[in-house]
Symmetry: C3
Amino acid sequence: MVTTAERLLQDNLSLFEAMHKQAHDNEPKRVAIVASKGTLDMVYPPLILASSAAAMGMECAVFFTFYGLNALHKTKSRSLQVSPIANPAAPMPVPNILGAIPGMTSVATWMLKSMMRKQNVPTAAELIKVCQDSGVKLIACTTTMGVMGVKEEDLIPGVNMEGAAAFLEFASKAHVTLFV
Amino acid sequence: MVTTAERLLQDNLSLFEAMHKQAHDNEPKRVAIVASKGTLDMVYPPLILASSAAAMGMECAVFFTFYGLNALHKTKSRSLQVSPIANPAAPMPVPNILGAIPGMTSVATWMLKSMMRKQNVPTAAELIKVCQDSGVKLIACTTTMGVMGVKEEDLIPGVNMEGAAAFLEFASKAHVTLFV
Amino acid sequence: MVTTAERLLQDNLSLFEAMHKQAHDNEPKRVAIVASKGTLDMVYPPLILASSAAAMGMECAVFFTFYGLNALHKTKSRSLQVSPIANPAAPMPVPNILGAIPGMTSVATWMLKSMMRKQNVPTAAELIKVCQDSGVKLIACTTTMGVMGVKEEDLIPGVNMEGAAAFLEFASKAHVTLFV
């Protein structure tokens, strides 16, 4: 029986490959994202990608680590900022010597928020709500919590707490893996 | 018949797994890259990876979003810059207080370009041309176009315009997914 | 025979898909990471992820390119720094105008190191040793070596030297692909 089965499968490698491709394309998709940045601009990409993935029926988890943990912090998440310096690619770049003037970080942050609002892009807090409501798993990195002295009660409700190993286990079965 | 087939496949799980691995290794590879940075240094990695992937026969798409959109902008792509500050890992790091002096951004940009040229690394514009000629799909993020007020005619010719959902659909069938 | 085999496989698509999923979940996992940053904070994520992956029995390679190459440089890897400016998401953010004062980069670096030490997080050098001892393949990007004038003898021992194509070949068969 084994011999027949082996021959049967091996004789049909191209058929097997076609079915393999079809099975891969058909299976429910999983997206694993690391969010390591805590500036307002770079908090958007993981949240936009995660909420879009969830809306498309994909299973999604976002692992907030390093500065990214700020996005899940009750108070810090309300005052995420964007830097006006060291980014010559900003929509309205200013010379670094001007960008370093006190108050310019607030100006750059206000500008980005107002550009987003005009295009009806949800705020970061709204995107987190959308993610939670649509089943995206939001994970706070436990190592980062230790290093930064963040307690469970400092985080917004409904967040999971896990380490890098748990995230890698999830990611190893994902179809899209991104480090932001 | 079903019973026989089921038994046949299940009795041969290790054979199935070996063929699964072979089918996976044999299939045409697909690479999906997000390019979110607009500084000269960080525009290179997505373009180098995409053109290399295409040269190796892989199917590749690059999704230009946030500051990354600058690389597809007719005029802005000609003046991409690198910041001399806030990067203590630069080849020749300068103290931030000197890096903030007007003109230092141009100096740092000139230095990077000249280091690249000496090693015959193509310019960003040349790499975009190579990508287009070798079938890499270059995608401008439509949401970013709205937020930054970029029109279709502002972009270099031959570029696609799509949203995050279309990119995720492509990426969900890719073998390599990277967020730069 | 072909007809029977074809019918047999195609009649059992859902069974095939279930076995495909099982085979995918069972296979040894592979992780491919690009490390492009050379600041102390951003050198940690690839090393922590790689050493965790290896501890979980996954096959892992890290491709050090651009500023990331500093982490494999004999002398530069001993003095990796973190910038005190342009990161309003830092644990203790300072106004950019203060962060630009000479010496503040050393202060920020010292702070991060001391926060890590208190939580018993290994140093970057220790993590590289752990990676090497647990079979993680550390790869220096040959193009970057050329651009930055780095010679083989400048690198820590036991490092591989390869180009982007070799990395993509490895990554195309990986389950987790991340660009840091």
